[in-house]
Symmetry: C2
């Protein structure tokens, strides 16, 4: 039974949903703020809002973009985003950065790095939400992505600097994953974290201009060779390696053409539909486990018992299974009843 | 409060623990059967047994071994195991194979493939437990590994054929991960699943004899190059690539020397201790989530609701977060109380 307050909240959410679906950027910003809020009232509002707009979501091409610090992600997104908006597309840019709370939100935070795109009426840029855990940040970003789609954005870019497992999180919420790499020698791949190459549908070697052009071409050849040594992520879709120069604007259009080609290929035989459905299923079970863990840790007694058991387990004083059983002894009866 | 039955069970477990710690192989076999059983009484016994022997565990060098079907895992383990037992070591061999129920336990099941090792008094070979999920199989194997250590085994080999994410599960319960690969051309790595190379501490190219020797040497060079293109798993420990011939017994001793060298390097600066503690912590939280999920699915109402919600989510009719909240609405009050 919803309370009077809840009913008022739900009505407010419906009003916001209407503004959102009319493409109002301010409404989108407000909606995302609500989704990012941890206030119980806002959570009720966010759920009502998402439920209301859900039928209008899924229309964007979802692109993950990653690369080590200094590779030129912001410069690329500034140029890439403008290429899209000039052609009439509406672009939303989000960031996954679990460390943003500590770092003060370096990623996308310094909007001057995307001066023009920030002022572009067809672009919407949102820094990473402050979230202690990757799971928390990723959850909010997934919801923001749905809200942007409901607001009629055609392209959603999710950027990550690659803290912890954030590339995997981004690859698991997008249709295709674009990896940026700097020009360099043959050992270049050592600059890419283990397992990340395998997530990429497309690799772009940046700074392919001036003195660095030869090095960029060498690096591109090395990366292409590395891809040949790996199984392709999608059968029949060998990841391409292209060079780009954000300064000269070279290769950006070709990169977009390749992204749309991959997207079309995945959509053609329903792989895109299956991919998104599988992502949603994993997201669901991830949410189930997240909410359970949060609930355990939000209970003072269970939280204390959990950390004591965790210590005992890592010290070899208790078996993980036995410890888990002890922790859950208090929970299971409630589930089994 | 334990019941009379539980007390009797615990006493039986203690008796079994004593036999186990005297190195009785039959006691080990019985203990593992108890650990693999899903009968409530056996679970009580298994927990008491593990608690009793836990102080005596951790003494073995834990080695994961993987490789595609046909690479010659069983032949290698037969030769490798005998090399160890001849030098007075006691070797336990387990298998992680989530598909063993379907396939009838092909992996290690056909013991004639390890005829000599099976009859070796210093070896203990156990096929993969029949378990529907990787998590279930891995859980039992981790416990069997602890039991074998308590029984005084010096080396524990955990083999996997690489179904689903089983290599990751094996790498997460062992000290080092050995990958076997067949001789072949430059595209050889395409036979290795994405992400698996990154788990390896050592790669062995098998069948390095007769006609295949040149191909094996070529393959070894290609794999070594691929490793150079990746970040090493452990700082300062670049994975080596060696060739072995189980038939001629060539390279097996060198492979063991490299494994002990890696193990010593990890032990020297406490990395091994930290690795095992971290594995235990992850195992603990994995167990917490596993038991919670099992509890949800063992409750008819919750199970039905869960699958309906999962369908709604993958059809895009519900948001994962909202669906998870609905599923857990019944559970949370119990946790929060």
């Amino acid at each position: 039974m919803a309370s009077q307050n809840d009913l008022a909240t739900v009505n407010a959410a419906r009003k916001l949903a209407v503004l959102l679906q009319n493409g109002d950027r301010r409404a989108l910003a407000r909606a995302i703020t609500v989704a990012e809020s941890s206030l119980p009232a806002d959570q009720v509002k966010a759920e009502a809002l998402l439920a209301a707009v859900l039928p209008r979501t899924g229309g964007a091409i979802r692109i993950g973009i990653s690369g080590a610090p200094g590779v030129g992600k912001s410069t690329f997104i500034e140029a890439f985003g403008q290429l899209l908006t000039v052609s009439g597309k509406r672009v939303a840019v989000f960031a996954i950065d679990p460390s943003s709370r500590r770092s003060g939100g370096s990623i996308l935070g310094d909007k001057t790095r995307m001066e023009k795109l920030t002022r572009d009426p067809n672009a919407f840029i949102r820094p990473s939400p402050a979230g202690s855990t990757l799971g928390g940040v990723a959850r909010r970003t997934r919801e923001s992505m749905l809200l942007a789609e409901a607001a009629g954005f055609d392209v959603v870019l999710v950027e990550t600097v690659g803290v912890g497992q954030s590339e995997t999180a981004v690859a698991d919420m997008t249709d295709l994953f674009v990896l940026l790499a700097s020009p360099g020698g043959g050992d270049d791949l050592q600059g890419i974290k283990r397992g990340v190459m395998e997530l990429a549908d497309l690799l772009l070697v940046t700074k392919a201009d001036g003195d660095l052009l030869p090095a960029a071409l060498r690096a591109a050849a090395n990366y292409q060779m590395a891809f040949h040594l790996m199984r392709p992520k999608h059968v029949g879709l060998q990841p391409k390696v292209l060079t780009v120069s954000a300064i000269e604007g070279a290769g950006i259009g070709a990169a977009w053409d390749e992204m749309t080609a991959i997207h079309a290929a995945l959509a053609a035989d329903n792989r895109l539909t299956r991919l998104r459905a599988e992502q949603a299923r994993r997201w669901f079970w991830g949410e189930v486990q997240a909410v359970v863990s949060e609930a355990i840790l939000s209970n003072a007694n269970l939280a204390a018992e959990a950390s004591a058991l965790e210590r005992a387990v890592s010290d070899g004083a208790a078996t993980p299974y036995g410890a888990a059983r002890s922790l859950l002894a208090a929970i299971l009866p409630a589930l089994r009843q």
